[in-house]
């Protein structure tokens, strides 16, 4: 399964649900899958994708999707514990797991050496977990998660690294306020 195919699938299933995307190709591919104002693309802050999604889920009653990566999640495993502690019912975390740091030379990540992120999630108290390796199983897992009111859900999606798409023409401040304005009235001059 390629990440872009999975991203297109998740984007199609998401409806109006906010999606937070990990830095780099994950954000580029989410944009190429079809821009939505409720896409929160990140291009820095490696490791914080699912932390941002946790904050969104705890401050909103809408389903929230995190598109994280194995290398980024390994950088901030503590947030899996925080998700397990807070247990937001409306949060679905999807980890694109290529078992490598694709952007820095393809070095083998810890998931390629035995670390099992699904087991990490389970040990942190997250009970709805799955590991999928093809699009059919991913569609079933994401559909089940989005239809459920008993999250959090944690899906490890094993992917093969493929070529990169062009960098998406997005900008952090514009991304944040375009996203935020779908939840609140836009700020006015002088506010």
């Amino acid at each position: 399964m390629r990440r872009f195919e999975g991203t297109q699938l998740v984007s199609r299933l998401a409806g109006d649900a906010p999606i937070v995307s990990n830095l780099g190709p994950t954000s580029d591919e989410l944009w190429h899958a079809g821009h939505r104002d409720r896409n929160f693309y990140t291009y820095g802050n490696m490791g914080l994708c699912s932390s941002i999604a946790l904050g969104m889920a705890m401050s909103s009653d809408q389903p929230v999707i995190s598109l994280d990566g194995d290398g980024s999640m390994l950088m901030n495993l503590g947030t899996v514990a925080s998700i397990g502690r807070e247990k937001p019912k409306n949060l679905t975390v999807i980890v694109w797991d290529n078992e490598k740091w694709g952007q820095t030379g393809g070095q083998t990540s810890h998931t390629g050496m035995g670390t099992d992120l699904e087991q990490v999630a389970q040990s942190c108290g997250i009970t709805h977990t799955k590991t999928v390796t093809d699009l059919e199983d991913l569609e079933a897992a994401v559909s089940e998660a989005l239809a459920s009111s008993e999250g959090p859900h944690f899906i490890v999606a094993k992917i093969e690294e493929a070529g990169y798409l062009s960098v998406a023409p997005v900008e952090p401040e514009f991304t944040l306020y375009r996203f935020r304005n779908t939840f609140v009235e836009p700020r006015q001059p002088g506010d």
């Binding site: 906010p18 937070v20 929160f40 990140t42 291009y43 820095g44 802050n45 490696m46 490791g47 914080l48 932390s51 941002i52 999604a53 946790l54 904050g55 969104m56 889920a57 705890m58 401050s59 909103s60 809408q62 901030n76 503590g78 947030t79 514990a81 925080s82 502690r85 807070e86 952090p172 401040e173 991304t175 944040l176 306020y177 996203f179 935020r180 939840f183 609140v184």
Partner: protein, 168 residues
């Protein structure tokens, strides 16, 4: 009203109901009040950069958030400020318990405690130091107003002289 109660009142005045923190004995005087008040959601993060991420997520869906941490943990949050809050212009007030000042007993706290303000200056972010509770209401309200007007993080540094904590 003591300093901790002043902070709680200010957070409410600025509709800041999502509070993310990494536990600390001195700011416990505030976070225990927050924990007991149903107005707030108090989230315990495992690390300070994670706390910043959670707070940004909350702000992104329209709910104001603040972060509490110790000066040592501020060091863990710097890249989150530099690569998330600043480029996305996110107003996150940070209440930082300042170690390394007069009365500090732990050598390991001194360098990071002294580096907080220079780092904030290098990042171009505003900061205020509270040494006592005089005029605290005006300063806190002014800081929150500036934070939201500037749409950038801002540090309110809580010293041992203010809260009396951990002075040997």
């Amino acid at each position: 009203m003591n300093w901790a109660e002043e902070i709680v009142k200010t957070l409410k005045d600025w509709n800041t109901s999502m509070i993310v923190y990494v536990p600390d004995i001195s700011i416990h005087q505030v976070t225990s009040l927050i924990d007991a008040d149903p107005y707030f959601t108090l989230v315990s993060a495992t690390r300070e950069e994670e706390a910043i991420g959670i707070a940004v997520g909350s702000y992104a869906v329209g709910r104001n958030a603040a972060v509490f941490m110790q000066s040592s943990g501020f060091g863990n949050s710097v890249n989150a400020l530099a690569s998330l809050c600043i480029p996305a212009r996110t107003p996150i007030p940070m209440f930082i318990n300042m170690r390394g000042g007069p009365g500090e007993f732990n050598i390991a706290q001194v360098a990071m405690g002294r580096a907080v303000i220079p780092i904030m200056d290098q990042l171009g972010l505003p900061h205020f130091v509270l040494e006592d509770d005089g005029k605290m209401d005006r300063l806190l309200n002014g800081a929150m107003k500036l934070c939201h007007a500037n749409r950038q993080p801002l540090a309110i540094c809580l010293t041992q002289m203010l809260h009396g904590g951990k002075i040997a």
